[in-house]
Subunit: 205 residues, 2 copies
DNA sequence: GTCTATATTGGGATAGAC
DNA sequence: GTCTATCCCAATATAGAC
């Protein structure tokens, strides 16, 4: 079946493109490299995707939406706010460890072209998940479990800040740890263990 | 005095280069744009700095070292750990607000070329400041002011995470806030007010 | 030192054979 | 669909006049 074969090549190109774009960014990526990584000819890349921009946008939306989807589902599980915070950090840290250069890639690209973020949000149903979590926080504030001065959105942003930054700052932290006679990997394994407790300590009534 | 004049043009080019590089990154920046912003001819840029790489490195080291210097000094002021945390967020948030696209630029460039960070650290005396702050945290742990399970380095990284991420994530937060019928600017003004208290709540014994 | 004009190359994109 | 060969432009860099 011809369609099948062509689909496989499309996938190969996509996979190679994810690799190349995540490593070098849009401006640094090379179509030749993508072709090489996919084990095919450069002209074929253009045959399937017409232009670098089009290929990039397709790749970007897929990886970004996949990331946001995983992100949203952890907020949507059962449990108290404290339990969800623990679950979130566990899941998110695992995910980030496996995709260490995704965050800086993602943030840099949406900074370069803020229009991308709108397209990502169109399909990822983040809103209801966010709103649900915010509501739960307010409930638990009313129940006296969470400090009344906690602003739900700020809490959410704080959680994400704490989770993502250690990966975005990898090169800096690597250098700092070296100067402190440690190393990035061992630091991170320690660091991730205290994130949930750090947040919970801060907000518990 | 000829030297004076030439120095002024060098400065103009540097200023224009900071602008262009911070906005577009190394790969996205254009020598022609830098010349235009400096109000001079493109050939002159090469006359003064030979190549794009050389110009970039000079610009990068200056802005990065300036940033790290300001960063380090706030850790070095008088006061308790809690006071320093408050002072740090005040200073750092003001600084970031005035240089909103510096963090993502900086982190992206050191990610692209991790070698840059070594050169930044060579001149910025960060080590003693960091070590001093760490020592103080341990002192106040011993005095019963700070929880005994607080790991100083992780605390430091948490503080920096909380401070910087809202700026790195600007495009995302802008979109989210829009969908929540708010806007990025007002969010940030609220958000920054709770950062110090968020940390202090978390670590106070 | 400062400009105009030009060299050079890297890299995205297409034409055309098979 | 897949390749080779080539086009073409953008962008760094330099030569050379003034």
């Amino acid at each position: 079946m011809v369609k099948e074969i062509s689909k496989n090549i499309e996938d190969k190109i996509m996979a190679a493109a994810v690799d190349e774009f995540e490593e070098k960014g849009f401006n640094g990526a090379r179509m030749q490299q993508i072709a090489d990584k996919a084990g095919i000819n450069k002209a074929l890349v253009h045959y399937y995707f017409r232009s670098k921009e089009k290929l990039f946008e397709k790749v970007f939306l897929i990886v970004a939406q996949r990331a946001f989807k995983k992100f949203a589902t952890t907020l949507n599980n059962d449990g108290t706010v404290f339990e969800k915070i623990g679950n979130f950090f566990n899941m998110h840290q695992d995910l980030l460890w496996k995709n260490r250069n995704f965050p800086i890639f993602f943030l840099n690209e949406v900074n370069r072209n803020p229009n991308l973020i709108k397209k990502v949000f169109e399909k990822a149903e983040l809103d209801s998940n966010i709103l649900g979590f915010i509501e739960q926080i307010n409930d638990e504030k009313a129940q006296g479990k969470i400090r009344t001065d906690v602003e739900p959105i700020s809490l959410l942003v704080n959680i994400i800040s704490l989770s993502i930054f250690p990966y975005i700052g990898q090169p800096v932290l690597t250098e700092v740890m070296q100067r402190l006679n440690s190393d990035y990997g061992t630091f991170l394994q320690q660091h991730r263990q205290q994130l949930a407790q750090f947040v919970i300590n801060s907000i518990k009534a």
